[in-house]
Amino acid sequence: MSIEITETLGPDDLTSLSPTADAAERYRRRVRESLETGWRFAGLHVSPGAGSVRTLLASPFGATHLAGVALAAGCVPSIVDLAPAANWDEREAHDLFGIGFTGHLPLRPLADHDDRVDPIDGAAWTVPVTGTDAYQVAVGPIHAGVIESGHFRFHLVGDRILHLDARLFYKHRGLELAAVGAQLEQGTGYAARACAACAVTNSVAYAHAAEQALGLVPTAELARVRTVLLELERLWNHLNDIAAVCAGVGLAAGNNRFAAFTDRARRVNAAVGGHRFGFGTVRVGGSDLGLGRGQVAAVRADLGELRQEVTTSWRELLFNASFAERLPGVGTLSADQARQLGTVGPAARAAGLAQDVRSISPRLAYTGFEPVVPERALGDVQARFEQRALELWQTFDLLDALLDRPLVPAAGEPGGSARQIGVGRVESPRGATSCVVERDGSRIARMRLRTGSYANWPSVAAAAPGNLLPDFPLINKSFELCYSCADR
C-alpha cells in the first residue's frame, strides 16, 4: 500500500478569531468533522495572551490542523463530548490559565491541588464512591520504591478495584511558562528537561515545531542522525520497561538481567551522543554530532551483540511458566476503550490499533516503516509486555540499517514558508508526542508539549477497575508512563 504522507498546517483562524456564537459553533463543527473523517485529537493549548484556545488535530496520514476559538466571557466551548481525549487538556487549561470550558461538567481539578471545591459545579478532584463496603485507599505522592511522585486514589470493595483516579502534577515545574520569552533555540533545553526518559523525543518534537515555524526542513542526514538518537532512546526504554514488568511480579532474575541491559543501552547512547539520556544532542536547525567510521562500526557491533543476548534472555522469560501466567487477563484495555480515550503508543498497539507516528514522519528517516501489533492483541499486561519485544526487534533493525555509515554534522534547509506557529509530532517510547510552538519573532511566545505519557494516563486509570489492588503495580508498570513529562 502506498500512502501519500502530507505535512500541512491548516489555515487556523488566527487573525479572524472573534468571540461570537457563530465562531464557537464553527470551532466545534470543525473538530467534529475532523474526528468523523478519521482525524484524531492531538492536543489543546492556550494561545499567547490567553485570548483563545487552539486544538491540534492530526490526520492518520501525517497532516496536522489547528482549530482555534476565542474566549467569550472567559469561556470557550468544551469539545470533551466529541473527543474524550481532550479531558486532561481542558482541565489543565482551566487550572493553569483560568479558562472555562462550557459543557465540560464536572470540570474536575487536575493541576490545581488546593482542594477548594469549585463553588459553581462543586467538582472535587476525585469522584465520590458510595455503597456498602466501598472504601478508599490513598497511595502517594511518595511511593515505596524509587518511583516518581504522584498520587493514586483507589475506590475498592475488598481487594477489587471499583475506580481509580490518578492525581498528578506533583512534579509540575511550570517549564512551559518558564520557556516563554526564551530564544527559540533554547526551547530544546526545556523540552529535554521535561523528562529524561523521553528527552530525545521531546527535543526532536520541539525542534520540528520550531523549524516548521521558521520555514526549515531537515536534510536527509539531519533526519538520519535524529532517527538514530530516537531509536537509541527507545532501545533503553523498552529494555527498562521489560525489566519493570519483571519487577512488577517479583521476578528478580528477569528484572536484574534487563536492568543490566538497560545500563548497557544507556552506555551506547553515551557513546553515540555523549550523554546517557541524550541531553544536548538535539538542536534547532541542525546537528553537531559526528561519529567516524570506526566508532559507528563499534556501536553497530555492540548493538548486534546486545541483540543476541537480549533475544536469549527474552526467550527465557517466555519459557518461565510461573512468570508468564501472571500476565494474561490483567489490566485489560480494550481496542474500543483505547480508541475512545485516544490511547497512543505500545499500549494502543497492544490493544490492536496499528498506529505509529513513525510511519508518517517525513522529517525523520523512517521510510517504509510499518507499525507492528502482537498476534494476541488483547490489550492486557501480556500484550503490552510482548509489544515491547516486537518493537525492540524493529529498533535493532532500524539502527543496524541507519548506522551503515559515519554520522556527520548536518543542518536544516529552507522549505515551506515561515509562520507564527509550528507543530512537531514524534513517536516516543510511550506513544505520539505533539509539540506546538508559537513564536514572537525569534522568541518563544508559547510552547506546549503533549507527550505519550500525558495521553495515556487516563488509560491506566481505565485499565484498573475490576482488577485486584495488588495487581496495580504490575498494570502500572506495563504502561510504564512518565510522571515528569505529564507534569512538566
Binding site: 491541588h113 505522592p141 511518595i142 515505596a144 520504591g145 524509587v146 518511583i147 516518581e148 511522585s149 502534577f169 506533583y170 512534579k171 509540575h172 515545574r173 511550570g174 517549564l175 511558562l177 518558564a178 533545553g189 526545556y190 529535554a192 528537561r193 521535561a194 523528562c195 529524561a196 526518559a197 528527552a199 527498562n240 532474575a253 528477569g254 536484574n256 538481567r257 536492568a259 543490566a260 538497560t262 545500563d263 544507556r266 546517557r276 539520556f277 541531553f279 543476548e309 536469549t312 534472555s313 527465557e316 522469560l317 519459557f319 518461565n320 512518565c482 510522571y483 515528569s484 513529562c485
Partner: protein, 158 residues
C-alpha cells in the same frame, strides 16, 4: 530461568565488584521532589548487577521510618514541599539528607518561580551533595559509600 541465573552469575564475575567487608550499612529513603526522572532512573540502576549497592550495605527502604538517609532528587516543587517535609519528619534520628543531581543542588534549575520552591537546601540542611545531570550510577554509588566510609564526624540532630 537457569540461563538467566547463569548469565547473571557470569555478569557479576565479569564486572568483578569488590565487596569490602565494611560491616556497616545505611538505609536510604528516596523522595522525588520534582525531577525529570533522570536521577531516579540512574538511582534505580545502582541496584542492578553492575553496581549492586545492596552488596555494599546500601539499601533503598520503603518507609522513611526505616531510613538513615533521605535522598532527594529534583527541584523542590511547591506541591512536593509538604510531602517531602512529612517524610523527613517521619525519620528516626540521627538522620542525614542527601541531594542527588544538579536540580536538587540548584544548578541550572529550570522552572517557573511560582511552581518551584528552590533547591533542597532552601527547605532542609544538606549533608551530602551529588552533582551531575544526572550523575551516573557509579558516581551515585561512590558518593553514597562515602557516608559509610567517612560518616560526618558529628551527625547533626535536627
Amino acid at each position: 530461568m537457569f540461563t538467566l541465573l547463569r548469565d547473571l552469575r557470569r555478569l557479576r564475575r565479569d564486572i568483578g565488584l569488590i565487596r569490602p567487608d565494611r560491616g556497616r550499612s545505611l538505609a536510604i529513603r528516596h523522595v522525588d521532589a520534582g525531577s525529570c526522572n533522570g536521577c531516579d532512573h540512574e538511582l534505580t540502576l545502582t541496584s542492578s548487577p553492575a553496581y549492586d549497592l545492596q552488596h555494599l550495605g546500601l539499601g533503598i527502604v520503603a518507609s522513611p521510618r526505616h531510613a538513615d538517609v533521605l535522598l532527594v532528587t529534583g527541584a523542590i516543587t511547591t506541591r512536593m514541599q509538604g510531602p517531602l517535609l512529612t517524610a523527613y519528619a517521619a525519620m528516626p534520628q540521627p538522620r542525614l539528607v542527601a541531594a542527588l543531581g544538579d536540580c536538587a543542588l540548584g544548578i541550572g534549575l529550570l522552572g517557573d518561580p511560582t511552581e518551584v520552591v528552590g533547591p533542597l537546601d532552601a527547605v532542609l540542611g544538606v549533608d551530602l551533595r551529588i552533582p551531575g545531570c544526572p550523575p551516573t550510577p557509579d558516581t551515585i554509588a561512590a558518593a553514597l559509600l562515602t557516608l559509610i566510609d567517612n560518616p560526618p564526624a558529628v551527625i547533626p540532630q535536627r
